[in-house]
Symmetry: C3
Subunit: 396 residues, 3 copies
Amino acid sequence: MCQDRGCCHSCLHYVLDYETPKTLVIQSKAVGFVFRFTQLLVILYVVGYVCVVQKGYQETDSVISTVTTKVKGFAYSNTSDLEHRFWDVADYVIPPQGDHSFFVLTNIIVTPNQTQSRCPELPTPSSICTADCDCTEGHSDPRSNGIQTGLCVNYSDTQQTCEVLSWCPLEIDTNLPKHAMLAAAENFTVLIKNSVTYPKFKFHRRNIMPQINSSYLRRCEFNRITDPDCPIFRLKHIVSEAGEDFQSMAVKGGVLGILIDWSCDLDWWAGKCYPKYSFQRLDNKNPNNSVAPGYNFRFARYYKTPDGEETRTLIKGYGIRFDVIVFGTAGKFGIVPTIVNLGAALSFLSLVPAVSDWVMLTCARKKDLYNKHKVTYLNEDSDSESMAMGTSYGTQ
Amino acid sequence: MCQDRGCCHSCLHYVLDYETPKTLVIQSKAVGFVFRFTQLLVILYVVGYVCVVQKGYQETDSVISTVTTKVKGFAYSNTSDLEHRFWDVADYVIPPQGDHSFFVLTNIIVTPNQTQSRCPELPTPSSICTADCDCTEGHSDPRSNGIQTGLCVNYSDTQQTCEVLSWCPLEIDTNLPKHAMLAAAENFTVLIKNSVTYPKFKFHRRNIMPQINSSYLRRCEFNRITDPDCPIFRLKHIVSEAGEDFQSMAVKGGVLGILIDWSCDLDWWAGKCYPKYSFQRLDNKNPNNSVAPGYNFRFARYYKTPDGEETRTLIKGYGIRFDVIVFGTAGKFGIVPTIVNLGAALSFLSLVPAVSDWVMLTCARKKDLYNKHKVTYLNEDSDSESMAMGTSYGTQ
Amino acid sequence: MCQDRGCCHSCLHYVLDYETPKTLVIQSKAVGFVFRFTQLLVILYVVGYVCVVQKGYQETDSVISTVTTKVKGFAYSNTSDLEHRFWDVADYVIPPQGDHSFFVLTNIIVTPNQTQSRCPELPTPSSICTADCDCTEGHSDPRSNGIQTGLCVNYSDTQQTCEVLSWCPLEIDTNLPKHAMLAAAENFTVLIKNSVTYPKFKFHRRNIMPQINSSYLRRCEFNRITDPDCPIFRLKHIVSEAGEDFQSMAVKGGVLGILIDWSCDLDWWAGKCYPKYSFQRLDNKNPNNSVAPGYNFRFARYYKTPDGEETRTLIKGYGIRFDVIVFGTAGKFGIVPTIVNLGAALSFLSLVPAVSDWVMLTCARKKDLYNKHKVTYLNEDSDSESMAMGTSYGTQ
């Protein structure tokens, strides 16, 4: 055509000529049905599964969360170690600030009145001695409790051990009370306030729902069935929902996760976005595969005697650390994932004609007829089109 | 063709025969324009929106962050409770370590010289008594402050309440100072050091930019307009940017988020990656829908009297907890998202011919002509091709 | 056809008529090879790179983690400030609970016996005075240490400074020990227990592998080559793997990240999911671009004198904060990303015929022949199909 209209037009022709495939319409209900059915399957799959079930059209954002916690309750212990003692929040919650991780003391080994001084080491194979020459001045074994002074002194009437420089008297942590000292801790309650933000969607929400009023909050207690929205949890309830027994866990301590799942679908009214609470023990119970099972740590309170000497009370505290773990992703309609998912769907739809063609040319009763009309074989040698299956096209 | 060249070649034929659609070129400017225009729209949409605006070609990574904070300032309180008292960082920042969450004490209720002993319960409907028989030994109401001893004693000249075993004297937390005791805390400053890592991209950066020198850091103060890069924030400024009043927030406390957004585009020079600070109150101000509004916690300081008795000072501290929340995603060119997004774009391009065909065969002036040449109807009954719209193809 | 069979059928026809492109099969090995080769390239790229290397078929989830840490070791300091002093875990680990961030004290400035009182300010240009009129009662400079009383008093025999109301005596923090007081801290060890959860995949795992037994754990120490699974780390080893020197870092403190990478492929047996430890200094060493380099914070221990007066020991503690940072994403086969990625692949395959056609019609030896048979030009003016390149189609 270029010669006819002039070469200056050829470029425009190239751009504006529209090339479209020649098509053959086959009026066969069978083939048409196969085609539509395959198309339907793909559409159902993509629309039904990817879009509806997996929400592929949504973009997502991760949660940002703040937690404050407040434990309530008191207890009275009457074990011999500490005589009779009353415990309140300031005593047993460590650290006191109440952020996303809080620790409730349930069992303790107390070593009061320690001073920087010298005392006999606890008897172990390496510390037992018979004379000063068994002890080396300045020696410190990481397994021991202090720096040896080089003297061998009486530990008890029958045993001599090397003297060490340390906080004396030494802590003897072998006789941990068999029953948790603060067994009453199971009835403590904790109020968890959690507010979350999805910054990408500018969505902000608290775990205390708008419909909940103050008077309900003052008396409610979380229960999965009767009070699923109450943010006040009884410790015993948390532990038992995690499949553990509070009293046995309280002896050696442990770590317990309070998981708050804020997975949200923000497309419709935001009321769909509720916290889901679950509870799970996070440390290992199995003593075969564990060092220092349970959960404990040592801390000290420092005092000064009237004459200015520093003393401390060393406390090895066992207890349950509660970690409030907030997670979740919010989804909301987004143009990019929608395009990507629709594009993928369209790709699959473009497979459908290939399937239908294959069925038509292979399985249909009139496959030869279809083949003859659809496909033209180009025989290069004779520079002529040869008909499919050698059938002549000349009748046309 | 198989018969001609031998069946051994048929497999090779199957692989190497190239099947290509027969096409019809329509030299109509209108149809060509519709085709090119639709194509352009799709390309503009995909390239312009998905790629440029939404950066669909990028893979993303979440931020890993470390924060250290350091508060500076001192204050002098002269309320009656604590006489005249000077406060410095070691007094009012709890916990002292300065990690991503720090608390500044602004108001307190102090109960000094508590000991483990017995004292009359605070008067409430359930604790007021007239005789010992109104009190039950060992009874402990979670709402009360201790374990009843079974005695009814004088609380004041006019009231009798049950005696309890507790830390005595009991805390009376009803008369919280109306004006925050540490009102001067609004002028405290906090230095926030934040370093972030995007592990997938091996990208590491600090919120103190390389071009900032020490002398600037010693005197600057964050201001969104004049000093947007200064990592030192005045507490009053933080609170007012969050839309709150420091003095009224200081009375009962609260939680304030310092949000640092590290959303980064790492494709070009990394200088595009700056922290963006914003401030937001995270707890609920609305007292109708809240338990324990504000933010406070109890902690104690333990002392020993010269004769070895333990006493404590109980402090109910109100104040503002500042949570430094670092979030963000970094994007960088990635081959997988690029392929996926380009693939989706290509799918949409494959829709364009369908649209053009529909326009050509439905709306164009010469639609019958186009139809006749493009589409062939196969009439199965007569085993012959019938032309579109019944027009004979034989004229050709 | 509508007129023939009745209009009620036309709709059914529209749905069930199957329109398929007429195709031309070209039996040219060259063209076929180009086609198959391009196809192979795309498939290799998509399958090989996107699927195998980048695991595009997986959906991902972010890790949720809990950490407990326990430091072991003791040290003996003999610097002049604190005389000879023995340090154990309760003394140098702050806070004591052992969560994901723990601080090991290595150097301190102690100011004992501070009381709320009056004392001369430290000499600075603004605090030096010669008479009372140089000092303003009630004035408090943020850079100073207290509130001026308006008096000018002797700081030393030669200097006079304004008197301030503060915790006196004031801390003098200029002469920090050049050698870290707790140099022995390099031999402390820390046990890190870490358990992770991928909530989307309900996958839970600990960093202490099932095959590890308690006796191994009691004696092992992490070493990248010999003991890569041991969760007990020597502090010196951590610091040196981060490329730092413990002793020089200990003087002014710093922040050190213990990064645990839990990137997991959960498709095959879960044993593929191991923690990978790495270590990195997180604060800035470069003093040119830093305020308050290193890491330190002030805390106080409060005492009461026998006559009830409150005193405190102020401690400015320098040390290394270890932040255990757990990150990672787990991937597992998911139907949505698979569909999306396959769809993208299919889109690219639909490009292949376009490429082959272009090669065939442009570069092939017989391109005119192919063009003639494949493409029909519709000459609208004469209402007839004109053959490609003006060749008549009539010979057919």
